[in-house]
Symmetry: C2
Subunit: 517 residues, 2 copies
Amino acid sequence: MAVQLSREQFYEISPADFFYRNRDIAGFSNPARALYSAIRELVENSLDAGELVRQPPDIYVRLTCDGEKGEEGANICTLRVEDNGSGVPARHIPQAFGQVFYGSKYRLRQTRGTFGLGGTMAILYGQITTNSPVRVVSSADGKRIHDYTLMIDIRNNRPIVLKHQVFSNHDGWRGTIIETKLEGDYSRAMPKILEYFRQTAIVAPYANLTFVDPKGRLYRFERVTENMPKPPEETKPHPYGIDVETMKRIIASTQCRDMVSFLREHFHKIGRITALKFLEFAGIPPRRRPKRLSNDEIVRLVKAMKKFNGFRAPSADCLSPLGVELFKAGIVKELKPEFVSVKQRPPSVYSGYPFIVEVAVAYGGGIPRTGDILLYRFANRIPLLYDEASDVSWKVVHQLMNWRYYKVDPSTDPVAVFVHVCSTKIPYRSVGKEFIADVPEIEREILNGLREAARELSLFLSRKIAVQKEKQRLDIFEKYLPKIARFSAELAGRKPPDIKPLLKSVIKYGLEEEKEG
Amino acid sequence: MAVQLSREQFYEISPADFFYRNRDIAGFSNPARALYSAIRELVENSLDAGELVRQPPDIYVRLTCDGEKGEEGANICTLRVEDNGSGVPARHIPQAFGQVFYGSKYRLRQTRGTFGLGGTMAILYGQITTNSPVRVVSSADGKRIHDYTLMIDIRNNRPIVLKHQVFSNHDGWRGTIIETKLEGDYSRAMPKILEYFRQTAIVAPYANLTFVDPKGRLYRFERVTENMPKPPEETKPHPYGIDVETMKRIIASTQCRDMVSFLREHFHKIGRITALKFLEFAGIPPRRRPKRLSNDEIVRLVKAMKKFNGFRAPSADCLSPLGVELFKAGIVKELKPEFVSVKQRPPSVYSGYPFIVEVAVAYGGGIPRTGDILLYRFANRIPLLYDEASDVSWKVVHQLMNWRYYKVDPSTDPVAVFVHVCSTKIPYRSVGKEFIADVPEIEREILNGLREAARELSLFLSRKIAVQKEKQRLDIFEKYLPKIARFSAELAGRKPPDIKPLLKSVIKYGLEEEKEG
């Protein structure tokens, strides 16, 4: 960055340099927000790494801050995140952690990470605020442990390996440990960090999360189940979502020598018959070699893919929703509501990407009355905590749902709404992964899900009101029946009758109703 | 993107590929939003290009959509943007338009562009949705006109020049014409696009903006002044904002052979005496060669820069605010309010970046009653139209200002608030440049500015109420005085007196007050 004052200079910058200059857009705007983002990005990588190998995650996060001040004037903190996940293959460690836009997340598969950016960004932020390297210890094969000390060459977007040691792995340990220094303002970030862990515990009730904060306080979120959702699978792209650029890339890499095998090999669930029908529709000979297609034919092929009606809908096999039971377990564990209804919507599709929406509506119990509906948002099992009002779920909850219709008064009732969107591609509108675009298909699914769940809440509330009335009626019986009995008995000059059986029968009916609620 | 289903593959993607995969984060989520973003990015480049050479911008935008459908199922549109600005030097055209992270905006200077991304992103989106090249015609020297037809090699993030012609420029024309095809949904995007032009006309009242929409309707926003704000200058970095990474880059590029000249040459307003004092403070010998500094010394130098109190505050010379007069002219031109108060705050600083906040509060006239305060947000003369609730200004207007104190009832009064932040670096929180982070220093300046302006509004409103009362009083005079006069005259049996002069004197007083308002 030579400072020269001549007119209009043009130059190129590397991706690392871009994010170095614009850390705000990746969620690293200040020492509080950056601390939150760093923890979140590393924990999410750890959760992904656990799910990849179906290992219930044990994640240990320790943050220590000494008195020293960093570049931004806040404390220098040391962040250590340990997991028992898949580990990172040794040869990929330097680039996976020391290069922006290098990663394993650029595929059609449901993962928390999408941009291949978060972990590296945390390390980059640490480096620019404390000028210290990061240490990455990992074993992916259970045989050897690799211990790297790295920095990032920001200008060239390349890792610099300062030290690399290999140890034999006597215990067969698998997992990854990352230790990085960064500037952080824990006192300001604390509420969001704790909320992040709490909400992560809701959507990952199969994970043990331990967090030791700079004051030595231990926060532990224990798993309530060993059941994990089935792991996400990679999917082939659906023909509907293909553009010319992607088609050209597939053609460049294919080994197929005719169009039928090409379609069957590279696209989502195309069989021989569908392939032949489609090729007739597109006017491309089945025997044609894919690599010989002209530019015009490629464009025609792609256009035909969007128009052809004979493809199977994208399947949700590659998605890994939480499921009603797990979602419910997580909500009950953390909020202990009086009532909860969880709904999973059937798989749906936007722009060729499959997605599933899961929603829940909970009432009472540990849910505070805040004067408005509490909204918990999750995407591919990530809690989203910032910029709520820009999210599609906020729009549905606050603008599209008519809560009064479901007997809910948002301003007084203790109601919480949970929305979980999972997809091979979440349409985030920020690099910081904070809010989801209002894609019409997703919006509609959230709305339909919430209506279903709210109907059940409405029934519960009706019954609750009925039970309350019943209780009032019983209270009156209990109060006056003995008096009437005694009075009548005295009047008749007889012993008062035993009214307990009578009362009991009435009470029993009421209690039964209450149990149903 | 070979689809292979083996475990954990890692790979690198280019910046163009990153934004190709994640166009949502750059504001290109769907054909409506993308059309808005494309127009906006190209118009902003044109405005910057005009201001650079102090040429009042004439910008002509034409959008035509034929019936053909594109990749996303919306219409294929042709967008043409012409300007009379600086032009782009021929040798930079291919990369400036065909490569992500290549540009002239990566400097400490107030420009609309920040990320060097917008124009290229518009072209990239056009290419992936219509598979067509872009045409760029430009003359930067007034001698030759270069006409390029380009595509982007997305995988490698490099331009592909399909055609390049050079013409001699008989009329000495300067400027740039860009013509690109892209998929767009004009009917959905129209309101935002027109609002964008209208608000741009408010902050750039010295520009002629012409927009011809797909139905052939012409929207013209004419300049009301030839006065342009002084052009933004590039500034040297302030020592307070330097981190180790930047320091290393400056050292790598410096020609200076001792620390005193090094400090004077590369940093913001450091004189000889300050340099010597600072070096003593930092414990670094003045004669030291910058390139010989050890890593530890560099860290010490940077730390000392943050602690040393003797540097001059960053100056706002490099900023180019609108100024009270221009801002007012823009607001009056577009909204014709009954009252407007514009305030410019003194220059201030966050993280070493200078900034200036300008605010305005307007009342009545063309401002509609919407049940809430209308908020217009601008940053470096860009109108920001999306995600209002995530912006720092929204927080100030809706959470920090106590409007009742200023006699304003937000739910009934026709009040509009305008906030313009200009800085060498706007802390945007999204690549789409839609909202500004709540940096405490900026928040405080907006609040103080609004309080100043609201005090004036409050005075105006008090006077307005007084005038209204006065009017009521006059109405009563006018109604009853003649009657009383006639009645008294009749009673006395005399001719009624001429009461006009009496009435007039009272009315005059009232009218004067009204004029003052």
